[in-house]
């Protein structure tokens, strides 16, 4: 038996164990999982939805393969003894043959006065279930919130708190909200949408410090560009009153234990394309890892790594779920497409595609989707960039096309189109010769023109069940059919599903009126 120890029981660690268990049909692995949090694995991606009150905290739990793995919750690893191949916790040590680090990332805390040491009451990051629980509890008595950080999570939390009735100010260090994903034009449209929700946005803003009253947060001192429409458009400073502050300035890979064990770390734990570290017994996956193509911070990449490593370690060619052939699912490919693209790009010395995976904002009241090349980085020479700017209706769409494929897109306020673009992007469906066609929603047919009987061509089908045309019905009329029943007898129209009955009635009325008119003319 191979002793496999997994440090981390989050979304990626637990998924990795599931993937291993599914492949290890012979029971070759003796699996131990050490999770720092006291909870079974849960869906961290949905924490902002908990803050928004859209999903219940108790329902976030993910599957855990605990019938095959020995899972220890609330167990923090303090050291890795690589020489002895032992993982040490406060109270015990666990030997390993193979070690997988899936320690994730921790929320970054601004280094400003008031936030050194323990966070004051009312100030929370949003990374764990406990964070979400505390923020939700705080909203009960809070009326004014400041969200520090206007990336994806910050904007999601902002919209969530607005939905709970709080007055929210968003303080963002960049030039525009979600500027990693949104170029300035798109950012302005997004900010305008936030403003319509009542959010006040500070940009290019530094958080100077946090003041407390009786141990609770009282205000946040900021300096930067104040919200549009305020007295000063240039740099300004303010002390924003707040009884709730959420910190969303990003995460830092949790790699201190790995670093202390002498493993190479940069932004995260450095691994090769095989997800292995320099120590052949140790691998790293998920947010704690820094693979050659870079970490996207998105779950799709971590799940793809979990699957890749499980396949690699079990040497399984077959996909246990399908038992037919190995084939990553679309879900996984959503993550791996980018990785593959970037690695291939690097190998062939073609400029790698910048940007990350598909980013979809989960916010109620603001719809943002971005993928591939986005965020206003200068386009490569062969990139065609097309923009649809419809700020007045809160819509901004940008597509980037290279070599007949969609390599990037940004969609603000256009969810249906965004859904089409994501499908095109992830499957690398060839784009139309004129990429401007991408701005139309081709899959929604225009409503049928309600043509009156006189405009309808004679060959137009009236009864689809029986292939009866307007001409056929007119013929039956001229042969003497005057009621729907008589037309049905002559042509079978209306005898299938019956939904054309009204149209046949209308035709009979029209034919009757025509006949009368003609008769009148003849008589007259």
């Amino acid at each position: 038996m191979t002793r496999l120890v997994v440090i981390g029981n989050g979304m990626v660690g637990s998924r990795f164990v599931e993937e291993i268990v599914a492949r290890d049909v012979d029971g070759r692995f003796d699996i131990t999982v050490l999770g720092a949090e006291p909870y079974r694995p849960y869906n961290r991606v949905l924490l902002s939805e908990v803050v928004a009150g859209k999903v219940d905290m108790l329902g976030l739990e993910l599957p855990q393969a605990d019938e095959r793995a020995s899972v220890h919750l609330g167990t923090e690893v303090v050291a890795i003894d690589r020489a002895q191949r032992v993982v040490q916790t406060e109270s015990s040590s666990t030997p390993y043959d193979l070690l997988v680090l899936a320690t994730g990332a921790a929320a970054r805390i601004p280094e400003v006065p008031g936030l050194d040491g323990d966070l004051p009451a009312g100030v929370h990051p949003l990374r764990t279930l406990d964070d979400a629980r505390e923020i939700v509890a705080a909203t009960a008595n809070a009326s004014r919130a400041v969200v520090v950080g206007g990336g994806v999570l910050g904007v999601e939390v902002t919209c969530g708190l607005v939905g709970r009735g709080l007055e929210v100010t968003l303080v963002h260090g960049g030039a525009g909200v979600m500027d990693r994903q949104l170029a300035p034009g798109a950012g302005l449209v997004a900010e305008a949408s936030l403003a319509r929700l009542g959010v006040r946005c500070w940009t290019r803003a530094r958080t100077l410090g946090i003041s407390t009253r009786n141990g609770r947060v009282a205000s946040v001192a900021v300096q930067g560009c104040p919200p549009a429409g305020t007295a000063s458009d240039t740099a300004a400073a303010a002390d924003l009153e707040a009884d709730l502050v959420v910190l969303a300035i990003g995460t830092a890979p949790a790699c201190s234990v790995a670093a202390a064990a002498g493993l190479a770390t940069g932004r995260g734990i450095r691994v090769g394309a095989d997800l292995g570290t320099a120590d052949p017994a140790i691998y790293a996956i998920g947010d704690c890892a820094e693979p050659p193509e870079g970490a996207s911070g998105l779950i799709a990449q971590g799940w793809a790594q979990a699957r890749q490593l499980a396949t690699q370690l079990t040497g399984s060619e077959s996909d246990p779920a399908r038992q037919v052939r190995t084939r990553p699912s679309v879900a996984v490919r959503l993550g791996s497409v980018i990785a593959a693209r970037e690695m291939r790009g690097a190998a062939s010395a073609v400029p790698a595609v910048s940007g990350t995976d598909v980013v979809k904002l989960k916010a109620h009241g603001l719809d943002v989707v971005a993928m591939g090349v986005c965020g206003g980085s200068p386009p490569a020479p062969d990139h065609r960039v097309l923009r649809l700017d419809d700020a007045a209706s809160g819509r901004h769409v940008e597509v980037v096309v290279a070599q007949g494929q969609l390599v990037g897109a940004t969609c603000v306020g256009s969810p249906d189109l965004a859904a089409d673009l994501v499908a095109t992007y992830t499957r690398r469906t060839p784009v139309p010769g004129d990429p401007s066609m991408l701005f139309l929603r081709p899959v929604v047919p225009s409503p049928a023109v309600a043509a009156g009987p006189e405009q309808m061509p004679a060959r137009a089908t009236v009864c689809t069940c029986n292939s009866v045309s307007k001409g056929d019905i007119a013929d039956s009329f001229h042969a003497g059919a005057r009621s729907v029943a008589e037309v049905a007898r002559a042509t079978r129209a209306t005898t299938g599903c019956g939904s054309c009955t009204a149209r046949v009635c209308g035709l009979l009325d029209w034919l009757g009126a025509n006949e009368k008119e003609n008769a009148d003319v003849t008589v007259g």
Partner: protein, 724 residues
């Protein structure tokens, strides 16, 4: 109405599982005519196929004599004795030389219950081969496997179709019933008026269009005036269902009381769908996240636990003909269960059966692992019961065989059969990767086809046996509702034509089998009823006489199970519990993996297949009807103008579709009713336009269902290479 006169019969349409009630008139000296009659499924309606069905009876190339491939290599007319002796002798020799499994049998979902039963009995008790399966494998197998696992039993619709009219919402997954069974649309009228029709289909099919004119605006999400149309990327229906389940469970919309009282497995299901949040599903399926949320909310509001009138969740081949077809139906059932719908009057889950007797065909022994009465062939009690009815020893019965695709793939190989008997199926057009199937069929020592017309498959057979068809025979069918109905004879078959019941009895005798075969349909039914007694599909309380008497008295009809002669039948199932060990339904967690054949740079377009209103299945019948050919004469490729522009394929141009398995050519038809990343072809045609030459024969690991509904293809205008 019932038997009427000698020349008028109250019967049913020969085609689909709706089994529209019709009256057949065959007065001497007059053309045979049909008229729809009042019947609960068609309510007096009938589509063009039904109206023109008499033309099949008088098809100019109707087979009226047995044919045997002679020394010239051509099929030549021979007497019944010569044909049957040749078949029997060859079968005997092959089984002596190569074992019992050297002979395989392929049945059909269009056969009457009596024929399906006799065919299964012939295979198991006379040939004693394990190798029997049928074209229903291409039809209902995924839905059947899922329903059996989750609910303990599979009856297509476990409720009368008319019940749909009382619901507030109907979710149709991969069904285009407006074209496949048009009169059924009547049952959706009320739910459309309430704005509650939800259709999931990559195409804006005739059925999807029933959701009404779309709501304009940037965030329409498929909302129409009469419902919602969700248009996922082909092969991602399962992801859509997981997204709907996620919203229902995470937003607290589930029926907690029902789940606690009537199901098991909630915790595992809940954990499995936590990972399928709407934004993630949107990225995979192309269905906007808010459209998923709104749809889940619409369905929940219509569910009884929220005071709604009820919801029906219905699946069709569009979601079932997939390598994850069983998982997809399982997810659909999960959705119905978490909303508290199944086993409740006014709500439920059902599969819309396709073939005329797709339901009965799978209950009476054509399926590789089943004995009559929907019994498992591995269950020793079932084996003993059926063996006793057949007068043989249980040990004489073979074990389970292999599902259709594998059976076909192994024909003529060292692992497979060397002879094949085909009944009511046109494999050359209807099986996936049809070119490979043709090759397998040609490699056989003996191919025997029983059919009414020289179908494409019959034309390559060694022996062709002409058989009776619908208006020429008595029998029963089991409709999509599980209602057992009578097929009645209105006219005598042409001279020289025999019923399959007679053919099987003759072959049994010539093979020296002691097993007895009745040839009168009423007698065969009586035996079927005995064989099914105690099984899941229990017909033991039924007889032709009882069915006739009920119809003469304008009775309500009979839905199986009917376990006793005084039992009224079971219109609605599961009301008192599920036929599982603990009486509860199973919530079974499933994962989305996507189609087997995924789009890639050399095959970047999805191909989906389906039916058109005017044709039925392989077209062997409908392509012989002038009026239907006048409406739709040939295959075509539906594609979006955006794709047409990109590829330089104008409307009407000849286009070639190439997949990993082969190519097919047909005229392009531009339409805005399809996604630009997807093309559609109908599957009723033979020759270079026969789409199953390119479809994928990869199968669902549980049901054996091939993945007809999606594969990856490249498109090009024909003649393009010549120009370049």
């Amino acid at each position: 109405m019932s038997a009427l006169t000698a020349h008028r019969a109250a019967s049913h349409c020969p085609y689909c599982a709706l089994q529209c009630g019709m009256t057949i008139s065959a007065e001497p000296g007059q053309a045979i005519a049909v008229e729809p009659r009042a019947f609960p499924t068609n309510r007096g309606g009938m589509c063009q196929k039904g109206w023109t069905s008499p033309a099949v009876l008088t098809a100019p190339d109707r087979l009226t004599t047995p044919l045997l491939r002679g020394p010239s290599g051509e099929l030549e007319p021979v007497s019944w004795d010569i044909a049957l002796d040749h078949v029997a002798d060859t079968l005997r020799r092959l089984q002596v030389d190569h074992g019992r499994d050297a002979v395989a049998v392929f049945g059909g979902g269009g056969l009457t219950n009596e024929k399906a039963y006799a065919l299964g009995k012939f295979a198991r008790a006379v040939l004693r081969t394990s190798r029997i399966d049928y074209n229903g494998r291409f039809c209902m197998s995924s839905a059947a496997a899922a329903a059996n696992a989750s609910l303990g039993l599979d009856r297509g619709l476990p409720f009368p179709l008319a019940d749909l009219g009382r619901a507030d919402a109907v979710l149709l997954l991969g069904s285009n019933l407006a074209e496949t069974m048009p009169p059924a649309v009547q049952h959706l009228a009320e739910v459309r008026d309430r704005g509650g029709l939800v259709v999931v289909d990559p195409r804006r099919s005739a059925t999807a269009a029933l959701t009404g004119e779309l709501t304009p605006g940037v965030d329409g999400g498929g909302r129409g005036s009469q419902g919602v149309h969700l248009q996922p990327v082909p092969g991602t229906d399962l992801a859509v269902l997981l997204g709907l389940l996620h919203v229902v469970l995470m937003e607290g919309l589930a029926d907690a009381g029902y789940l606690a009282a009537r199901t098991t497995g909630l915790q595992d299901l809940r954990r499995s769908v936590v990972a399928w949040w709407p934004e993630r599903v949107a990225a995979i399926s192309g269905v906007p996240a808010n459209a998923l949320r709104r749809t889940a909310q619409l369905l929940a509001a219509a569910a009884p636990s929220h005071g709604g009138r009820g919801v029906y969740v219905l699946t069709g081949r569009g979601v079932e003909q997939s390598v994850q077809g069983t998982a997809t139906v399982t997810a659909a059932i999960n959705l119905a269960l978490v909303l508290g719908l199944v086993g409740r009057t006014g709500s439920g889950y059902g599969a819309i059966t396709g073939q005329g007797n797709g339901q009965g065909g799978r209950e009476h022994g054509q399926k590789s692992d089943q004995l009559p009465g929907y019994r498992s062939i591995t269950d020793s009690t079932a084996r003993a019961h059926v063996a006793a009815v057949w007068g043989i020893e249980p040990d004489d019965l073979p074990g389970p065989g292999v599902p259709a695709v594998q059976l076909l793939r192994e024909l003529g190989t060292p692992h497979g059969a060397r002879a094949l008997l085909v009944h009511g199926s046109n494999l050359l057009v209807s099986a996936p990767d049809a070119t490979a199937v043709a090759e397998r069929l040609r490699s056989l020592d003996l191919l025997v086809v029983c059919d009414v017309v020289p179908s494409e498959t019959a034309r390559i057979a060694d022996v062709v046996l002409p058989v009776t068809q619908w208006a020429e025979e008595e029998g029963t069918m089991t409709s999509l509702e599980g209602r057992v109905i009578r097929r009645r004879q209105a006219l005598a078959p042409p001279d020289g034509v025999r019923s399959e019941l007679w053919i099987l009895a003759q072959l049994a005798e010539r093979l020296g089998s002691p097993v007895h075969f009745d040839t009168e349909p009423a007698d065969v039914f009586a035996e079927l009823a005995r064989a099914s007694a105690g099984g899941r599909a229990d017909y033991s309380g039924l007889s032709h006489a009882r069915l006739d008497a009920d119809e003469n008295a304008a009775g309500p009809g009979f839905f199986w199970p009917v376990p006793a002669t005084d039992h009224p039948g079971t219109p609605r199932m599961f009301l008192d519990g599920f036929p599982t060990a603990d009486g509860r339904a199973r919530l079974i967690a499933v994962e989305h993996l996507g189609p087997d054949d995924q789009v890639r740079s050399d095959a970047p377009i999805h191909l989906v297949t389906g039916r058109v209103l005017q044709h039925y299945q392989s077209g062997a019948q409908t392509r012989r009807v002038d009026e239907l050919n006048a409406a739709v004469a040939e295959p075509y490729v539906e594609l979006h103008p955006v794709l047409g522009f990109r590829l330089g394929v104008p409307d009407g141009a000849l286009v070639r579709i190439t997949s990993a398995r082969g190519w097919v050519e047909a005229g392009a038809r531009w339409t805005d009713r399809i996604r630009p990343d997807t093309v559609f072809m109908p599957f009723h045609f033979a020759g270079v336009g026969s789409v199953n030459r390119v479809t994928n024969d990869a199968t669902d690991p549980i049901s054996g269902m091939p993945e007809f509904k999606v594969c990856a293809v490249e498109l090009s205008a024909v003649g393009e290479e010549a120009v370049a």
